[in-house]
């Protein structure tokens, strides 16, 4: 008897639960639909607002132009070196501040290597596109490398963790390196060189650069903040190859296209 009552109760309970669940699902889905409409509308509104305070770039929306590296040294040096780097990446900063001064003094200035920097802005770094933009605009006035040094030396002052408005910091650097700041600012705001940055990024991807920084030294590709000694060892082996092989095709001083490297690295195309 008692068992019957329990069974009956159980059956009734299940019925009630099932009915209430199936009955009340529709309003729930309607409520979700309303939230979806309001939410998507709000997001679309926020995303479409002018970004005049923190100028951000939608990398996906940029149409790539021609890749163009920034040259340091003699373009016809026996060993051609390419660096793919992200201005906001800490390893690139480490390389630029620790190994690069020696590389410039001991390999670039004597004419052993030519060095080309290509932007490889990574999506995870919030201010890196603006930094590449700042450097490209400095290049317009012939001071890419000065801006490059400022950006890497003071990376922790303008990176995505330090600020969401890096422009004022870049402006300080533009002034410090003696740029025509108004001209630089007009270029920066117009984001004139986004197609070039995008093209440089695409070139890095095409060449198989899987991390930043990545270097193509002669026919070797190597990633990471390598030491001067390691860099020099790779240059030395490239020199041996260069001496035993016919001279590499000369590359234009102002535009270093992806064909500029005489031999492809192991990870290259």
């Amino acid at each position: 008897m008692a068992k019957d009552r329990v069974e009956a109760g159980r059956g009734r309970r299940a019925d009630v639960v099932k009915k209430s669940k199936s009955k009340s699902n529709t309003p729930f889905y309607v409520a979700l639909a309303v939230i979806a409409v309001v939410g998507i509308g709000a997001l679309a509104y926020f995303a479409s607002r002018p970004k005049n305070v923190a100028k951000t770039v939608d990398p996906a929306a940029v149409v790539a132009g021609e890749p163009q590296g920034y040259l340091l040294g003699k373009p016809d040096a026996p060993v051609q070196v390419i660096e793919f780097a992200d201005f906001e990446c800490p390893a690139c900063g480490q390389f630029a501040t620790l190994a690069e001064p020696d590389i410039r003094k001991r390999l670039i200035e004597p004419g052993t290597i030519s060095y080309r920097f290509y932007d490889y802005p990574l999506a995870m770094h919030k201010n890196t596109w603006q930094a590449s933009n700042a450097a490209a605009c400095a290049d317009e006035q012939g001071k890419f490398w000065e801006m490059h040094d400022q950006l890497f030396n003071q990376q922790d002052r303008w990176n995505g963790q330090a600020t969401s408005r890096p422009k004022s910091r870049f402006q300080e650097y533009a002034q410090a390196i003696g740029l025509d700041v108004d001209k630089w600012e007009a270029c920066y705001d117009a984001q004139k060189y986004q197609p070039r940055i995008k093209a440089n990024e695409q070139m890095a991807i095409k060449r198989g650069a899987s991390q930043t920084p990545t270097f193509v030294i002669g026919n070797q590709m190597v990633g990471g903040a390598i030491s001067f000694d390691r860099f020099k060892a790779l240059v030395d082996s490239a020199l041996v190859l260069a001496k035993s092989a016919p001279p590499a095709p000369n590359t234009s001083a102002d535009t270093a296209k992806s064909t500029a490297v005489p031999a492809k690295g192991p990870g290259g195309q």
């Binding site: 639960v17 099932k18 669940k21 939230i35 979806a36 997001l43 926020f46 951000t56 963790q161 969401s164």
Partner: protein, 144 residues
Amino acid sequence: MIIGMLAFIGVFVSTYLTLYKFGYIGSLQCAVGSCETVNTSRWATFFGLPVAAWGLGFYVSALALVVVGIQERYADSRALSLALVALTGWGVLFSGWLTYLELFVIDAICIWCVTSAVIVLVMFAVSVAEYRETGDGRRETGSG
């Protein structure tokens, strides 16, 4: 179902902050507090991902649990209710830690983060109530 609706609202709040973090939103709408100070601080990233992206994952998981839970075949699943309690409980702890950081470490409050913390807290309270209700129902019917 209240939990589901709150989770869906949370999805949009966390999506907004995630989009900001990835640079797709210029500046945060922040009538109260200092949203950008909080969201550009070093605490805004957790295990290499923006905290907001973790929040998005949390809300989507909670919403998925609710949607599964309202299907007829899972209508009397106590395990789902328990999973929701555990998930939202974890959410409360995580939000509590973030709110502590805002108040005492970063010294800035982000209204969107506070909104999210409140949503998580209410979700947890409702999920505990629903879990207890499920238990009562079972005891009433005499089954375990």
